[in-house]
């Protein structure tokens, strides 16, 4: 690689300026590489991303990794503490292996939090962009409709939607998506309105750019960072909301695990066996925090102005 560069440099200095220009076309590192260099300098974000990757991988491989059936308990070992032989993370109130439940529960909790946030963000960015950019009647129609959703407390709305749709993981994800859209849309909308009035948008107009081009080329990239940061903070909250819905019998049904249900299950033994709640609780906090940190890191690495 460096040999090639040296060759190119040598050729460039020896021959004409045209060749120098040609060589410089190869000097540009790819966007991905620049992003990675910026992101990997943020050690904390890198560690958080690694943790998320690890947890996701472990959850995905739960059928292989899980040492026991997460739904079948061994009553002789009820509430056994951390480090019990064969059960590193102990057992819960029904004698089920907590590590196995953590792995299987992660599949549910991560899916319930990540997918709705991702889908809702996509829809919201589109809605916010269109409403903010075109303004007037379009703005009124979209934003006032979303305002109606703000009239209900988010959790209540999620419960209502999930209740109408009936229990099941897919329905919970759908209801969380619907609940999230008004919130993320607001953030995307505000960002769009701010960016829309920037001079560089006028500059694009003066250059004869089409509205579509202005919207997706110039406005969209500049509205993403608040959405990324906001979305990443939502992931943790949504794990908890999903757990809440399951607790009410609207999400997945027992004895299947999810981190929220595991926390709830342990509440009766908090004084006798705190680890039953604490292990999934710590997982929840770690994952939620990691998403926040990664969100901040992404924003910094994606914004050319914030790169070192």
């Amino acid at each position: 690689m460096s040999v090639v560069n040296a060759r190119l440099k040598e050729r460039a200095t020896q021959t004409t300026a045209a060749v120098a220009a040609e060589a410089s076309m190869f000097r540009r590192p790819s966007e991905w590489r620049i992003f990675w260099e910026a992101f990997s300098q943020d050690r904390l974000a890198l560690a958080a991303a690694a943790l998320i990757g690890f947890v996701c991988l472990a959850a995905a491989l739960a059928p292989v990794l899980s040492p026991y059936d997460p739904t079948v308990g061994d009553n002789s070992l009820r509430l056994a503490p951390l480090g019990t032989a064969g059960h590193v993370l102990g057992l819960d109130g029904q004698g089920r292996d907590i590590l196995s439940r953590l792995l299987w529960g992660g599949r549910v909790s991560l899916a319930i939090a990540l997918l709705p946030v991702a889908v809702a963000s996509l829809i919201s960015v589109f809605l916010g962009l269109v409403a903010g950019f075109f303004g007037g009647k379009v703005d009124m129609l979209i934003m006032r409709t979303l305002d109606v959703f703000f009239a209900f407390p988010a959790v209540l709305l999620a419960v209502a939607i999930a209740g109408v749709l009936g229990p099941g993981m897919l329905n919970v994800m759908l209801s969380i998506t619907i609940v999230l859209i008004p919130y993320i849309s607001r953030v995307a909308y505000m960002a769009t309105v701010t960016v829309k009035n920037e001079l560089f948008v006028d500059q694009a107009r003066v250059s004869g750019a089409r509205p579509r081009q202005i919207l997706f080329h110039h406005i969209l990239p500049n509205t993403l960072s608040p959405v990324i940061v906001y979305g990443s903070t939502l992931v943790g909250i949504m794990i908890v909301l999903g757990a809440g819905l399951s607790f009410l019998g609207l999400g997945i049904t027992p004895p299947k695990p999810d981190w929220g249900i595991m926390c709830a299950d342990g509440r009766n033994f908090l004084l006798v066996a705190p680890h039953v709640s604490a292990v999934p609780g710590v997982m929840l906090i770690l994952v939620a925090m990691s998403f926040n940190i990664v969100g901040d890191g992404l924003r910094d690495a994606l914004d050319p102005k914030l790169r070192r």
């Binding site: 220009a21 410089s24 001079l199 560089f200 500059q203 003066v206 250059s207 004869g208 990239p221 500049n222």
Partner: protein, 322 residues
């Protein structure tokens, strides 16, 4: 000086607010020929910028071009569809704004910003556009143009940013370049460099330039002709030397008197008393009359026409200086 490139005739642009109409541009007429640099000078709020945005048909809501005629290379711009206007913008007429940093999209590299219009209007490939972009950077005097292509705007100095803006504006060889106060954000030495650059480019490329400024010093240094605007009207126009050396309109004269002069430190500056009229509530007759040292009752009685004086000069005054 070549044939007429831009002709603005009796342009009226008004902003319709809830309960009033702001008459920002009121019957403005001027022209720019090929290879000519025309300055539009006046106080803030005189309607200079709105007049230029009207040429591009980009007057922000709730503004509207009420009447008038704008001919650019013989085409009537007010009869064009929005689609046809988009074709013209950036290609036949382009514009440079006052604030270069905020006019350059922070999410784009300089090279991609310049390439954008080239790909849009000239249907160049990315590679061709990139090569042309580096040629343009060289044209506007940026050292190591190939290296700068991958910089973001905020990594460049103010003068460099303004050069990039000019490079973008020139990318599709426009016949007319409109510059709205492009040097106000720059310090004086950089300002001079930019002015020299624009003059050079005019000589090389032969485009017409419409330069908006409130700095008569810039007008004197750069322009061939000047249009003095006040309260949305043209007060005086003519060749720069004549207008600045022997102003005919009292307003022009007071503008020049208000400038500090080198070598005469003892002389007090002469501010123009009063303030410009509210454009939502313009007085009858000459808008400058309330502040004019020569005003007589007939000035405020009825509108004063812009009167030609033969030598290319025109003055909107009943009692011009000789």
């Amino acid at each position: 000086m070549g044939e007429a490139l831009l002709e603005v005739d009796d342009l009226h642009t008004h902003f319709h607010l809830k309960n009033k109409v702001v008459r920002a541009v009121n019957g403005v007429s001027f022209s720019v020929r090929r290879g000519e640099i025309v300055g539009i000078a006046g106080e803030s709020g005189a309607g200079k910028s709105v007049a230029c945005l009207s040429i591009l048909r980009l007057v922000p809501y709730p503004g509207r071009i009420e009447r008038g005629r704008i001919l650019l290379t013989g085409q009537d711009l007010l009869r064009k569809s929005e689609r046809q206007m988009r074709e013209l913008r950036g290609q036949t007429v382009s514009m440079v704004f006052e604030d270069p940093l905020n006019s350059l999209d922070p999410a784009f590299r300089v090279g991609d910003l310049i390439s954008e219009a080239l790909i849009l209007h000239k249907a160049l490939s990315k590679r061709e556009a990139r090569r042309k972009a580096s040629d343009l950077l060289r044209l506007v005097g940026i050292p190591d143009p190939e290296g700068r292509l991958d910089n973001y705007a905020h990594e460049l100095s103010g003068g460099m940013q303004q050069r990039v803006m000019i490079a973008i504006a020139l990318s599709c060889d426009p016949a007319l370049l409109i510059a709205d106060n492009p040097t106000t954000a720059l310090d004086v030495t950089i300002q001079i460099q930019i002015l020299d650059l624009v003059k050079q480019l005019r000589d090389r490329l032969g485009m017409g330039v419409l330069w908006i400024t409130h700095d008569l010093g810039v007008v004197a240094k750069l322009c061939d002709r000047v249009v003095i605007m006040y309260a949305g009207e043209v007060m005086e126009q003519g060749d720069v030397y004549g207008v600045l050396k022997r102003p005919r309109h009292p307003y022009t004269r007071r503008l020049i008197d208000a400038l500090p002069k080198l070598g005469r430190p003892e002389q007090r500056l002469m501010p123009i008393e009063g303030r410009p009229p509210d454009p939502a509530n313009l007085p009858a007759g000459c808008p400058f009359a309330p502040r004019c040292y020569k005003a007589r009752p007939e000035c405020e009685a009825h509108d004063v026409p812009l009167m030609g004086a033969g030598d290319g000069r025109a003055v909107r005054c009943l009692f011009p200086e000789d």
